[in-house]
Amino acid sequence: MTKQQDTTTATAFSLICGLEIHAELKTSSKMFCGCKNDPFHATQPNIHTCPVCLGMPGALPVANRTAIEWVIKLGLALNCTINLFSKFDRKHYFYPDLPKGYQISQYDIPFCEDGYLDTPEGRVRIRRIHLEEDTAKLQHTTVDGKKVSLIDFNRSSVPLVEIVSEPDITTPNQAKLYAKKIRQILRYLDIADCDMEQGGMRLEANTSVQSEAERTAGTLPAYKVEVKNINSFRFLEQAIAFEVSRQTAVREQGTLPPQETRGYNSAKGETFSQRSKEEAEDYRYFPDPDLPPIRFTPEWIENQREQLPELPDSLLARWETTYGVEPRFADSFVESQTSATWLEAVCNETQQANLKPNDVVSAIHNKKIVSTTGDAPEKTIAAYQALVATDAVSESEVTTAIETVMTANPDAVAKYQAGDTKVMGFFMGQVIKELGKKVDANQIREVLTKALS
């Protein structure tokens, strides 16, 4: 039996996947110093630097309060518990893009824990959300014929939020939906731009395939493969799908895939091995003595929760109930609070004008009318009304037009009378063309049907 025919084995292994998402926060200054936070648009390398983010002797970090507040907001939006006592820890390893020889991150008491995000394919639990500093950016190039690595510290110490999910994701599509939703919320809260091409948002998938037996016993497979450096949702889906096939093939042979880190080659549509992860690296975490621990009061947390804007899912649901607007039309307007507020105003005014908000919104969505966020709602409604406005036609004008068309198309008439009702569409088009005006199609159809019968 070839693998293609062995359908029992093919469905016997199922995906177990967790995502780690890093996003750069768009605070004005960096995470631990006052340098400008602008790694992507700086005109030169190494212009937004100081002794702190360069790891100079004697420099000290001071935490960016706004970054912390934004992480709390994110945690609350993702239904997390906020730890009232939290701290920063030092994570040690050597690499040229890490000036201090350690990254200031969070180890065992992250700001947020135990949240969740609902996707159309089910709930994904969130294990933790923490704050850390980004590394500098390495550029491998040739200078004067010599191969060199250049380091740009504009990105060093930019605030990075890390969102770690539980391995609840079961399909490549769900991974994509989850990641897209995370981006939507980050943008909606206006705390991150998530420009994936620039690395403003980075995706990593931890994947394994679980056997029937493991599924029944409720145990996780004894390995996982990390896929890194994926910079689009499409590639995320493809990479995970590839891993499912690759790992399934290995497991079907009776062995476990090696625990390792793999990259994704989008040109080939394949993952490839990067390094073995048999042993976890020892980062020698300890609490950063330069940064006093952070303590929140329950009152302050509740205050933050109250200040949260209504989130996209809730908005779409409410617009459907209150205004009858279908989510597929309103979806693009929940990318930012500005556009959401605007759309709500349009819906409200439309409803008050005794028109159907769903019609207006779908017209905007389908670009049938020219309307953008910020336009006065009256202007938008007027544009819609102009779109659907019909000219007045008299009965005799309609009758004349129908007679003209029927006379010109005797074969089509015959077809219709023989039972081919699809021809109606042709007649509708011809009659409307003949009239040369914007007409109410329903009115025409009624009269035309009678005339043809």
Binding site: P51, L54, G55, M56, P57, G58, A59, L60, P61, V62, A63, R90, H92, F94, P96, P99, K100, G101, Y102, I151, D282, R284, F286, D288, P289, D290, L291, P292
Partner: protein, 479 residues
């Protein structure tokens, strides 16, 4: 080498008066300093970098010109700073070959503050590299010799700072104390030195040894002098997240308050066989003086003091293994292979204490013990106003004794590390001399942010004794 009385031998108060009444000038002071350096530093070796004499003269002239009746007591006074404080445009090495030639792009907050008060930086002092040592022998720039006897060490790690002041090259200095590094050399050189409460003075621009233990503090010839310097140094710095919000009191105020009714506690754990009998004698004499001044001396017990050395070394070495990780020669500095054997030893031990499988037993346990020691000290300080104890097990050892015996080297910190582990302030001041003519110091420890109390008790002691007024033979003293 002149034996004539020097201007720089005067106290800050006296010099401030002489300067404001135009009886002397800052130009004269720096001229004297430059001459002393030229005459003696070839032998003493207290400086790694000295400022260009012409530049120094120019800044002295500026100081004299800008003087007003409102000028700070520090205006125009030559001072020195341990080479662990970054100074923009001036080489800063932490006495390590790894930073030889390193010119920082910025200046430490404490230097800025002292400069704003008009004091004149004369040079950057030799030290034990990275703070790793108690004798200024773990340096890549040759050991500093003790001005009282050049066959002996000057103590450390702020040894160069103490030696400069004791040999008349500066009026005062800025040292750094992580496990005794101000108090130890102060005691070996017959000076007064203050380890402040953790967070009292900004650490921004201080090349880190152990981040939760490092403190920035003054050395000078008297406790009264320290009060003036501390006034300029203390206070909150937004660039240092660990710096305290505590308001800065007037430290000169209350120096002369009577000691009647003050209780001085002597921790019995400090008075063991490890202590040189000459030190015990000096402290006993001191208690007699305190009692004559109206204070009551009593014994207290702080059992965990006996674990202070393992606590300190596990924490300090862990933190230093982390703080030195940035010296990878990528952005600045020379290669890591240039770390001295003592520094490499400390990095390895610290890395071990933090490593998987050992961190719980070593680093974490030390942190838990630390919490308990903090509580024990607080409890002892509830029963008394200050604690009194020795600074070092004996007077300054001979050169070569400690650096070649790593364990003895660590044990030299026996009495000083507890203050750093707990974060409380501690004042070291002269308490006598050994038979061989070497200075012996003692320390007063207090509650957090109680520098005023320590300065008061110390100053009153100095009004009733004259140990601190003695100068080494090289300056015309009798020793």
């Amino acid at each position: 080498m002149s034996n004539a009385p020097t201007l720089l031998a005067n106290s800050i108060a006296t010099l401030s008066h002489l300067l404001s009444s135009k009886q002397c000038s800052a130009v004269e002071l720096v001229t004297e300093a430059t001459q002393a350096i030229a005459d003696c530093d070839g032998t003493i070796n207290s400086f790694i970098t000295t400022r260009d004499p012409a530049e120094l003269l120019a800044s002295a002239q500026k100081s004299d010109e800008r003087r007003t009746p409102e000028s700070s007591p520090l205006e125009g006074l030559p001072y020195c700073a341990k080479d662990s404080y970054v100074t923009e445009g001036i080489q800063t090495t932490s006495a390590s070959a790894v930073l030889q030639g390193f010119i920082p792009p910025y200046t430490a907050t404490v230097i800025k503050k002292v400069d704003e008060h008009g004091a004149l930086l004369v040079g950057k002092n030799n030290q034990d590299a990275w703070g790793h040592g108690g004798s200024t022998e773990n340096t890549d720039f040759n050991p500093t010799k003790n001005p009282w006897n050049t066959a002996h060490t000057t103590g450390g790690s702020s040894g160069g700072t103490a030696a400069s002041i004791a040999s008349g090259m500066a009026v005062f200095g800025i040292g750094e104390d992580t496990g005794g590094s101000i108090r130890n050399p102060a005691s070996f050189c017959n000076l007064s030195g203050l380890k402040v409460t953790y967070g009292r003075v900004s650490r921004y621009g201080t090349i880190a040894y152990a981040s939760s233990l490092d403190t920035v503090g003054p050395l000078a010839k008297s406790v009264e002098d320290l009060a003036f310097i501390l006034q300029a140094m203390a206070g909150r710095d937004v660039l240092d997240g660990s710096s305290a919000h505590e308001t800065v009191p007037n430290y000169a105020e209350g120096l002369t308050t009577s000691l009647t009714g003050k209780v001085i506690g002597l921790p019995k754990e400090f008075f063991s066989d490890a202590l040189n009998p000459e030190v015990t004698t000096a402290i006993n004499q001191a208690t007699a003086v305190f009692e004559r001044l109206g204070a009551r001396c009593t014994t207290v017990s702080i059992p965990l003091l006996e674990q202070a050395i393992p606590m300190y070394y596990l924490l300090a070495l862990s933190e230093t293994s982390s703080n030195l990780a940035r010296y990878d020669s990528v952005r600045f500095g020379a290669g890591r292979e240039l770390f001295t054997p003592e520094t490499k030893r400390r990095i390895m031990l610290g890395t071990y204490a933090l490593s998987a499988g050992y961190a719980d037993e070593l680093y974490k346990k030390a942190q838990s013990a630390r919490t308990q020691l903090i509580a024990e000290c607080a409890s002892a300080l509830d029963q008394c106003d200050v604690l009194l104890g020795p600074v070092t097990p004996g007077p300054a050892p001979r050169l070569g004794e400690l650096i070649n015996d790593p364990v003895q080297n660590m044990l030299a910190d026996l009495f000083t590390v507890a203050s750093n582990v707990v974060g409380i302030p501690s004042l070291a001041l002269p308490a006598g001399f050994s038979e061989a003519g070497l200075p012996i110091g003692m320390q007063l420890m207090g509650k957090k942010f109680a520098e005023s109390t320590l300065l008061n008790v110390g100053h009153q002691f100095q009004t009733a004794t004259e140990w601190h007024t003695r100068a080494p033979k090289m300056l015309g003293g009798e020793a």
